[in-house]
């Protein structure tokens, strides 16, 4: 079988099928990595202050860790959830090593992220969503940066990565109830910080 048709075949497979094939063929793992590379890179950038290079190096480490542990993939979870869990743990361990855990301020990313954060911001601040997205992108991101990592994590996972409570629970390995509590607290903290930064009045 030539390389191209095999890739096409792999491209049509589900994540879980690719996991099985990855055990025998690294190329299947390549397809898996390709699927998640942009999303994971964005996730790392959102929760960690790192240059693009640093984020990419970290992503490499994450993928190698995933490959090493692929036999330990919990079939009760979605592959993406398991992948995010490893990424989350790696970012935390990186943070513990370097005490650096703030997202970089790329204006384009910030505006994009704000668009996603609008879901709860419009409710919280009663603001026009378009205004928030266009004008407040950077400011919103700055406030997000000021939050403690545990609060920023859940906000990012819920509103930027758009994951369900159950998925977040599986990623940060806490009960769903605790995720809900954490999320509520994160929103309150965000609101207080936003007031401090006079986000509402702008």
């Amino acid at each position: 079988m030539s390389q191209m048709p095999l890739h096409t075949l792999y491209n049509q497979m589900t994540d879980e099928e690719l996991v099985r094939y990855s055990l025998h063929d690294e190329n299947a793992f390549y397809i898996l990595m390709k699927r998640y590379e942009p999303a994971l890179l964005r996730y790392i950038n959102r929760i960690m202050q790192a240059s693009r290079e640093e984020a990419e190096d970290l992503l490499q480490e994450i993928f190698i860790k995933v490959y090493r542990n692929i036999n330990g993939f919990d079939i009760n979870l979605k592959f993406s959830t398991w992948l995010y869990r490893i990424a989350h743990n790696e970012v935390i361990s990186q943070y513990r090593k370097n005490r650096r855990y703030r997202s970089s301020l790329n204006i384009d990313d910030a505006v994009n992220d704000s668009r996603l954060l609008v879901n709860f911001l419009t409710d919280t601040f009663n603001m026009e969503s378009d205004y928030l997205v266009r004008e407040m992108g950077v400011e919103v991101k700055k406030v997000l940066e000021k939050l403690a990592p545990k609060y920023r994590d859940v906000l990012v996972l819920r509103y930027l990565e758009e994951l369900s409570y159950e998925e977040i629970s599986d990623i940060i390995q806490k009960p769903s109830g605790s995720v809900a509590t954490l999320l509520n607290r994160a929103k309150e903290k965000f609101k207080k910080l936003a007031e401090q930064y006079q986000l509402e009045r702008k």
Binding site: L23, Y30, R68, N69, S169, Q173, S178
Partner: protein
């Protein structure tokens, strides 16, 4: 722009990185479950010891403490084993959290469940008589293990409260003997009319507990004599005059 996935794939091939074998994960998961079960078993043993200590405490001695319930409870409450039981419940919680789906449960739920399992296990262990045998073996084989005797020592070395314990060193005459207490001091014991419990026969070297009254600096009148080991009501009552 970097193709990270390609770089990783090249690295995997160049460095010959291979996935960890399945047995590694099976072993790791099994170890966690074994450690969890082990913690529960230790918690059960601690609980059964609590039950044993409470059941075998000499509650009838309370009146010798002149109503000082706190002092009495401090001596007889097996708080050390209670703390042990709680400690192992936390250890069990820790290992349960390490299991695949353990994080889905609230900490309080896991801890309470671990405690309940330990209590159930402890009751079973106690009912099967395992705890009593364990206590006996520990006291005999482990020199550092004082077991029940630690509490007993605190209680029974209170001659002013009418409680004394030691080993008979000499039978002086019928109903009287010399006793070396647990600290090695010699006492003249007048045991005329005393109730001897547990089918005891006065003899040199016998370890006993006395309930009575201090009648001098080194003299004690015994009203009741109990064996140092075992329970006071085991066996028939004998009266030695």
């Amino acid at each position: 722009m970097r193709d990270i996935s390609r770089e990783v794939l090249d690295k995997i091939k160049e460095e010959g990185i291979v996935p960890r074998p399945k047995r590694y994960f099976i072993l790791r998961r099994s170890t966690v479950w074994i450690l969890f079960c082990f913690s529960i078993i230790l918690g059960s043993i601690a609980c059964s010891t609590v039950i044993f200590r409470v059941k075998n405490a000499e509650w009838d001695l309370f009146h010798h403490f002149k109503g000082n319930l706190l002092e009495f409870l401090l001596i007889y409450t097996p708080y050390f084993w209670g703390i042990f039981m709680i400690f192992f419940s936390f250890i069990a919680y820790y290992y349960f959290r390490q299991t695949q789906g353990g994080y889905r449960f609230r900490a309080i739920t896991i801890i309470i469940l671990s405690l309940l399992i330990s209590v159930a296990g402890g009751m079973g262990t106690y009912s099967a008589g395992i705890t009593e045998r364990m206590e006996t073996v520990f006291e005999e084989k482990l020199p550092f293990y004082h077991g029940v005797s630690f509490h007993s020592r605190m209680v029974w070395m209170s001659p002013d409260k009418g409680l004394l314990a030691g080993r008979i060193s000499d039978i002086t005459k019928s109903g009287s003997f010399l006793l070396n207490d647990l600290d090695g001091n010699e006492w003249h014991i007048n045991a005329e009319g005393a109730v001897w419990r547990g089918r005891l026969t006065p003899s040199t070297g016998l370890e006993i507990k006395l309930i009575g009254t201090r009648i001098g600096p080194n003299s004690f009148r015994a009203d009741e004599v109990r064996p140092w080991h075992g329970r006071k009501n085991r066996g028939a009552k004998d009266r030695h005059n």
